[in-house]
């Protein structure tokens, strides 16, 4: 099977009209994919291995390569076209283009499926955000097909200030979606990003978000929907004195299987990270939240704060959390806290005593739990989030 898979890929690649460098890159990525184990991190091995295999269905993938080729499976809709945003199809990037380095970049987090996505993607955009951007970038990516493998690269140029709204959704019920999203921010830049993920009920999705930051970043993400979701964030804070702020809100119900992994790696001196997870799990949802904050030697004066909180609403829900810290230098402050709770009847009774009915009470308390503390100055954004 292994050889077959590789042969199909090589054949397809050579038949296509994509640039030579991209063919070489994809072949290299496929090799990496083959050589790796499913879960490289021994800490998570026990938890992940069996569950990850659901994503690798070689037959289906071969079928995809043979039949889809390079046709678009994703509809990119730019809701607000802004000046100062330049976007190109990755496939159209020529051999001498400097942007190649962004596509080919390898970070510290080898991941099997991430390599596979890089080898097989058929749709992908490189989006350059420059300083003269007016307004914000509002992009909705709708998967139109049963299988999507895509790679998006966002690049925020030096000194730029950008706002990006990114929404992932799909049309066909039991689709499989594999996305690699890589965000590069240069020095003195500031990026605010809102990622909204709303998949159909039977969808299986694997989203890898690599953040390679030399500037300040703030990400708010809201995830709902899907059946089996793997959401991985690999953030590396490379330059000194930058800030990384991530607020992740997950609303899980039905019989969802949600696995979120978040790595935040402090490399530059004086880097600060604040990561906040909030998940509500209802009905039969199973949620696993893993995060590792690593502070490397040399990242003096760094500060990391991680908070992971879950609220269990149903009898059959399960929340596993593994919040880990790896600290390799002394001149830092790192703190994390995790909690898993249920709704305290006392809190509900308080609302009841003020005439608020059960459904409304639950909504108020859960929204308070999920959204409280999010300083959303933007009313429009807040409404978009509260829509759930």
């Amino acid at each position: 099977m292994a050889d077959l898979f590789k042969s199909y890929i090589d054949m397809k690649l050579n038949m296509s009209s994509i640039p030579r460098w991209l063919i070489d890159y994809k072949q290299k990525e496929f090799k990496e994919f083959r050589s790796m184990e499913f879960e490289a991190n021994p800490l998570f091995k026990k938890d992940s291995e069996a569950r990850e295999k659901v994503f690798l269905n070689e037959g289906e993938l071969i079928d995809f390569i043979m039949n889809k080729g390079l046709d678009k499976t994703v509809d990119y809709r730019f809701n607000k076209k802004s000046d100062g945003v330049a976007y190109r199809d990755i496939i159209s990037i020529g051999d001498d283009d400097m942007s190649r380095s962004l596509i080919e970049y390898q970070d510290n987090y080898p991941d099997k499926m991430r390599h596979l996505n890089n080898a097989l993607f058929t749709t992908g955009k490189l989006i350059d955000l420059r300083d003269d951007i007016s307004g914000e970038l509002d992009l909705t990516e709708t998967t139109k097909d049963k299988l999507e493998i895509s790679k998006d690269v966002f690049h925020v140029e030096k000194g730029s200030q950008s706002r990006v709204i990114l929404e992932f959704t799909n049309e066909i019920e039991n689709a499989r979606i594999y996305k690699n999203v890589d965000i590069f921010t240069e020095e003195d830049s500031k990026l605010t990003m809102f990622i909204r993920q709303n998949f159909r009920m039977e969808t299986i999705a694997l989203i890898n978000i690599g953040v390679h930051s030399r500037g300040d970043i703030e990400i708010i993400s809201v995830d709902t929907g899907g059946k089996i979701i793997r959401y991985k964030v690999y953030a590396e804070l490379l330059s000194g004195n930058t800030n990384y702020k991530e607020n992740k809100i997950m609303i899980c119900n039905g019989n969802q299987d949600i696995d979120v992994t978040d790595f935040v790696r402090h490399v530059g001196k004086g880097t600060k990270s604040v990561v906040n997870f909030r998940a509500s799990a209802d009905e039969e949802a199973k949620v696993v939240i893993k995060d590792i904050i690593t502070i490397e030697e040399g990242a003096d004066n760094s500060d990391a704060l991680l908070s992971s909180n879950g609220i269990m609403l149903g009898e059959n829900t399960k929340i596993n959390s593994i919040p880990a810290l790896e600290i390799k230098t002394s001149n830092v402050k790192a703190k994390h806290s995790a909690s898993t709770r249920h709704i305290d009847y006392q809190n509900e009774a308080y609302c009841f005593s003020r005439g608020i009915d059960e459904k409304e009470t639950k909504k108020i308390i859960i929204n308070g739990f999920l959204l409280g503390g999010l300083e959303l100055k933007d009313e429009a954004l807040r409404e978009r989030i509260e829509m759930n």
Binding site: D344, Y345, Q346, N347, A349, Y350, C351, F352, S353, R354, G355, I356, D357, E358, E360, T361, I364, I365, N367, G368, F369, L370, L371, G372, G373
Partner: protein, 242 residues
Amino acid sequence: MENRIDIEKLSVRIKEKNLLREVSLHVKTGETHILMGPNGSGKTTLARAILGDKRYTVTEGRIEFNGADMLKLKPHERARMGIFVSFQEPVTLQGVNTLSFLKASYESINSTKVTMSEFKNIVGKNLQRIGLPESVNERYVNEGFSGGEKKKFELLQLLLLKPKIAILDEIDTGLDLDSMKVLSNAVNEMLPETGFLIITHNDRILKHIKPTLVHVMKEGSITRSGGLELVEEIEKGGYKIG
């Protein structure tokens, strides 16, 4: 318009423990009842039972509001009927904005809908009266509130929701003199339209509010009921009386 709540031989237990034994109490519009008693005597349990806290089981007796059986109603339904129960230990609702909360409560009790700006007005008037700053509107329910602020927030709700019968559980604890005056003014002002059951630990409030009846609770039962002279007896002899 007269409203009344009738508690008839109410017995309540939690798990295996009997907390209230055949408690009877009647409160009408225009009346102020004071309930006193040592810690653990069951005062808060009574308040909870009137609210309908599901953790407590009613083993016998009745609670009726204007003749209608309350025991089969859920807590929020009882609140909608016009019964307000303040909490001795008000809870903190993480992330829930005070204004949004008050608005949801107001709309539900009054079966109406208001715009946020209308509501802000309504609240604003009362905030001044109570001595809570405008900034309270930006905060989360009871999060980071001092003891006194929490009680004031309860008082704010009392004024906003204008209940028919109000059961106030130790709302006077932790209030400074000015706030105490605000509380008593509010009670006296609302009295023509409201019936009050004030649960208290000490008699400070009696200097400002004239009670209709004073009750003493001990070990789950009301042992004595009487006028102000009862309070004097307690002051002299402690709760040993009755």
